[in-house]
C-alpha cells in the first residue's frame, strides 16, 4: 500500500500511457486518431510550459518553438533531403539552441517583463516565417515529406503513412519527453527550479546559479516543443504560419494551468489532452464556441481551482476532513 501511495503519480502516469497505447485500437476512427495526435502535441507543449513556470516564468510564446522545430525539420527535408526521422532531432535541436541563445539574455529579467518578451519573440518568429520567401511566406510550406518507412529488425519494413502509425510515433515522443521532464521535475533540479521564484537571493547565497538553472529548464521545454513541432510538419505535410498566432500560445497557458502545477508531466498531459478533446468536440459543433470555451475555462479555473485539476483530490480531501 505504501509503495502505491509514494509513487501514486508515477503509477497513474504509467497507467495513462498504457491507456494511450490501447486507445487507437479502441477508437480506430482516423478522425479520432487525429484528435489524439492533437492531444499529444498539446500535452508536450503544456508540459514544457509548466516546466518553465517552475522557474517563475509565465511563457506566452511557446508556439514559437513549435514553429522553429517544424520549419527546421521541414526545410531540412525539402532542401537538404534529410530524413524526417533525423529531422525530429534537428527540429528539437534548433529550438533548443534558439532557446539557449535567448535564455541567457532574456532569463535575467523577471516577472511580467519576461512574459511580455516571450510574447513579443513569438510574434517576431511568426512575422518572419510569414514574410520571408525562404520560409514559404504567408502560404506556409507544402508537400513536406512524410515519415519514410523503416526497416525494423524482427518486423520487416514498417510504413508510417497512416494516422495510426504516426500516432505511435508521437506516443513515443510523448513518453520520452514526459519521462524526461518528470524526472527533471522530481529530482534535485526540479527542487532547485522551484526555489528561484521564491527567493532568488537566498538561492544564490546557497550556491545556486540562477541563470544556469533557468536556462536548463527553458531549453529542455523548448527542445521538446521543437521535436513536437517537427513531428507536426511531417505528419500534416504542411506548415502554416497562421497556426502560430498568439492565441495559440495563450491556449498552451490555459491548458497547463488547467492541468495543474503540482506535476509538470502529469499536469501537462492532463491539461493538454482534456482541453484538446473538448476543443475538437466543439469544433464539430461550431468553431466559434472554442473562444468562449477557453475563456470560460480560464476564468473558472482562476476563481475556483487556481492550481489546476491536479489539486482537486487534495481540495476534496480537505472538504472531507472538515465535514
Amino acid at each position: 500500500m505504501s509503495f502505491i501511495k509514494r509513487n501514486l503519480r508515477g503509477l497513474v502516469f504509467i497507467g495513462l500511457i498504457l491507456i494511450f497505447i490501447l486507445l487507437p485500437l479502441i477508437f480506430p476512427n482516423p478522425a479520432r486518431i487525429g484528435m489524439f495526435i492533437g492531444c499529444g502535441v498539446a500535452s508536450i507543449l503544456a508540459m514544457g510550459w509548466l516546466m518553465i513556470l517552475r522557474i517563475g516564468c509565465l511563457s506566452l510564446g511557446q508556439v514559437a518553438f513549435l514553429a522553429i522545430g517544424g520549419y527546421t525539420s521541414a526545410l531540412l527535408a525539402q532542401k537538404a533531403g534529410i530524413s524526417p526521422w533525423i529531422g525530429l532531432l534537428g527540429g528539437g535541436m534548433a529550438s533548443g539552441l534558439v532557446a539557449l541563445g535567448l535564455g541567457v539574455v532574456f532569463l535575467k529579467v523577471r516577472g511580467l517583463s519576461l512574459s511580455i518578451i516571450t510574447f513579443a519573440f513569438a510574434e517576431v518568429v511568426r512575422l518572419i516565417i510569414s514574410t520571408l520567401e525562404f520560409f514559404g511566406g504567408h502560404g506556409g510550406i507544402m508537400e513536406i515529406p512524410k515519415f519514410n518507412p523503416l526497416l525494423i529488425p524482427g518486423w520487416g519494413i514498417v510504413r508510417f503513412d497512416t494516422p495510426l502509425s504516426c500516432y505511435y510515433i508521437l506516443l513515443l515522443i510523448l513518453m520520452i519527453s514526459g519521462l524526461f521532464m518528470w524526472r527533471m521535475d522530481r529530482s534535485a533540479l526540479g527542487r532547485t527550479f522551484m526555489s528561484l521564484p521564491q527567493n532568488e537571493n537566498l538561492a544564490q547565497s546557497l550556491g545556486i546559479h540562477p541563470l544556469r538553472y533557468k536556462v536548463i529548464s527553458f531549453v529542455t521545454a523548448c527542445f521538446f516543443a521543437g521535436v513536437a513541432g517537427a513531428f507536426t510538419a511531417h505528419y500534416y505535410g504542411v506548415l502554416y504560419p497562421g497556426s502560430y498566432i498568439p492565441m495559440q500560445s495563450i491556449i498552451v497557458q490555459i491548458q497547463g494551468t488547467v492541468g495543474g502545477v503540482a506535476s509538470v508531466a502529469l499536469g501537462g498531459l492532463l491539461g493538454g489532452s482534456l482541453m484538446v478533446m473538448v476543443e475538437s468536440w466543439l469544433l464539430n459543433v461550431d468553431a466559434r464556441w472554442v473562444y468562449i470555451f477557453y475563456g470560460a475555462v480560464i476564468l473558472a479555473v482562476t476563481f475556483m481551482l487556481p492550481e489546476g485539476l491536479l489539486s482537486l483530490p487534495r481540495k476534496i480531501k480537505k472538504l472531507y476532513k472538515k465535514a
Binding site: 509565465l58 539574455v105 532574456f106 529579467v109 523577471r110 516577472g111 511580467l112 517583463s113 519576461l114 512574459s115 511580455i116 518578451i117 510574447f119 513579443a120 519573440f121 510574434e123 517576431v124 512575422l127 518572419i128 510569414s130 514574410t131 520571408l132 498566432i245 498568439p246 492565441m247 495563450i250 497557458q253 490555459i254 494551468t257 466559434r288 464556441w289 472554442v290 473562444y291 468562449i292 470555451f293 477557453y294 475563456g295 470560460a296 475555462v297 480560464i298 476564468l299 479555473v301 482562476t302 476563481f303 487556481p306
Partner: protein, 288 residues
Amino acid sequence: MTELMQTALNCLVLSANYILLALGLTLIFGILRMLNFAHGTFYICGAYVVYALVQKAGVNYFLATLAAMVVVGGLGLLIEALILYPLNDKLKVASLGAILGVSMVLEGVLSFIFGGEDVTIGSYFKGTIAIMGATLSRERIMVVVLCGLIMGGVYLWIRKTRQGIAIRALAENPKVASLQGINTRSMRFLVMGIASCLAAFAGAIVTPLFYINPFMGGGLVFKALLIVAVGGMGSIEGSVLAGFLIGFVESIGVTYLGPIAEVASFIIVIAVFLFRPWGLLGVEYEFH
C-alpha cells in the same frame, strides 16, 4: 505632394488610434497595476456597437459612438467589480489569466452575434477636401481632430482636476495616497471606466475607415502594449510620444519596407523590456 500628405495623414490616424489605446492601458496599469490584455477587445466592442446601431438600427453615428462608450465603459466597470478587484491580492498571474479569459469570451460572443467576417460601415464624413493642393479624405481629418480633442481633454483632466491629481498620486505611491484619503476602490472604477470609454471611442471612430472582425483585438492590444512599453508605463506624455513613433514606423515603414517593419516594432519591445522596463520616458521604479 499629395502622396506625402496622404501618408502623413494616415500616419496621424494610426498614431491617434494607438495613442488613445495606450492612454487607457497606461491609466489602468498605473492604478490597477495590471496589463489589460482585454483592451483591444474593448476597442472592438466599441466598433461593433457602432456598427450594430448604425448599420442595423439606423441610429445616428454620433449617438452610436456615445452609446458605444457607455456600453463598453459599463463593461469595464463590470469587469473591475466582478473579476479584477476580487483578484487584486492574488498573484498577478491570476488577473492576467482572468483578463485573457474575459477577452476570449467577448471575442467568442461577438463572433456569434456578428459572424467572423470583416465588416465596415460607410464613411460618415463623406468626400474629400483640398489642403495645400493635396486631396485628403474628410473622414480621416475628422478622426484626427476628434482624437486630438479627446486626448487634450484627458490631458487637462489628469493635470488639472482633483481626480486627475489623485490618480497620479495613487499611481506613484499607493500607500501614501490612501493615507491622504484617496479612495482606491473608487479610483479603480473611475480609471477602468474612463479607459474603456477611450478604447470604445477609438474603435468607434475608425469603424468607417477600416474593416473590423471580432478577433482583431489581440493584435491591437499588443501594439498598444508596445507603445506603453516604449513610452513608459504610467507616463501620459510617453504614451503620446511613443504612439507617434510607432504609428510612424508602421505607416511609413510598412509602406516602404513591407511587413518586415512590424518585426522591428517587436524587437523594440524586447529591447525595452530587457533594459529599461519602465519605458523610455517612464519613471524608474520596481517593475514587478
